[in-house]
């Protein structure tokens, strides 16, 4: 268990340093994620008949306030947090890649749905938008991430034929 925590801790520290010193100043990854999420959210909302405009990172439903996908809202940090667990928890290599790529894809897709929900929130409950935004990770991300992590630990246990180090109960 301690080994897992130390590995995860180092991963998160290394990730944040790389992000702060290289990825953030470069800006391209944040920009690609934010713009693609905004564009896909527009496609999603348009499919349900909403008149919506997109300008770079900004989504606006006609007649309502806009929603801007800032760097903190592009789910990159959550992708790193998710990946840190999968990489640090001992398991089979090939399945690890599947879980990593699949999980990151799911988080990206969930973020599109979250941004769609933010836009709809400007229509239906604008006064509570900030609260909805603050707790949105608990609704859209955390249950799914915890679920995939749990499935990953079960996969690892099946492969090692012994209980994982996380079972301390």
């Amino acid at each position: 268990m301690m080994g897992f925590l130390v590995k995860a801790g180092f991963f998160y520290i290394a990730w944040q340093l790389i992000y702060d010193l290289i990825i953030f100043p470069d800006g391209r990854l944040d920009q690609i994620l934010a713009v693609s999420v905004a564009a896909l959210a527009k496609i999603g909302l348009s499919a349900f008949g909403w008149q919506i405009n997109v300008l770079d990172r900004l989504l606006v439903i006609d007649g309502y306030r806009g929603v801007e996908v800032l760097n903190g809202c592009n789910a990159l940090t959550l992708m790193a947090l998710y990946s840190g667990f999968i990489i640090s928890f001992q398991g089979p290599g090939q399945k690890r890649i599947v879980y990593l790529l699949g999980g990151i894809g799911i988080i990206f897709f969930l973020n599109v749905i979250r941004i769609m929900a933010f836009s709809l929130a400007t229509v239906y409950f604008q006064p509570h938008w900030d609260t909805f935004h603050e707790f949105s990770s608990f609704i859209f991300f955390y249950p799914i991430i915890l679920g995939i992590w749990y499935q990953w630990t079960l996969t690892c246990e099946e492969n090692t034929q012994s209980p994982s180090g996380l079972s301390l109960a």
């Binding site: 998160y12 520290i13 340093l17 790193a80 947090l81 840190g84 915890l146 630990t153 301390l168 109960a169």
Partner: protein, 165 residues
């Protein structure tokens, strides 16, 4: 005689009981104390530093944000022992995980020392302290998620054991 009363109750009852008790404790006691400490002790200290340095310090009810000259977004720290502590703590108590509880509590005690000091250094224009604050935010979220995962996994394991699944 069985003196271990908590063992008599199924894990579902213990989890609901623990979450309810600690939610009430947090809302009625802990949260107001955190707000009071931030507004009356911590924020005034950092706001007084703000006047002497070229850094803009702002506060919310449970958080201090620092934005020195040349930075386009603020960095800061929250007051420890918030919801990100009490949710996993309640799960650990329900599943009787002594060492996880001690570890989580120790971590939040450290969070009451290290990030405020990094904040102090950041106001004093030490750029690396700003990176330290960002690292702290990521670690903080990671510790929360892993703690909640750990707690929920223990609950599921105990529930399966009770049901002989």
């Amino acid at each position: 005689m069985d003196i271990n009363l908590r063992r008599k109750y199924p894990i579902t009852v213990r989890v609901i009981f623990s979450l309810t008790i600690f939610s009430i404790l947090y809302i009625t006691l802990v949260r107001p104390v955190r707000v009071y400490i931030n507004q009356n002790l911590i924020a005034p200290f950092y706001l007084s530093l703000d006047e002497a340095e070229n850094s803009r310090v702002t506060m919310t009810a449970r958080r201090i944000n620092i934005q020195p000259d040349g930075y386009d977004s603020p960095r800061g720290f929250g007051i420890p022992f918030g919801g990100y502590f009490w949710l996993p703590f309640a799960l650990f108590i329900a599943t009787r995980q002594k060492w996880a509880t001690i570890g989580l509590t120790s971590y939040h005690l450290i969070m009451g020392i290290v990030p405020p000091y990094l904040g102090y250094l950041f106001i004093k224009q030490y750029a690396w302290a700003g990176t330290g604050l960002k690292v702290n935010e990521t670690l903080f979220q990671g510790v929360f998620l892993i703690s909640v995962f750990w707690g929920i996994k223990a609950i599921l394991d105990q529930w399966k054991k009770e049901k002989n699944i």
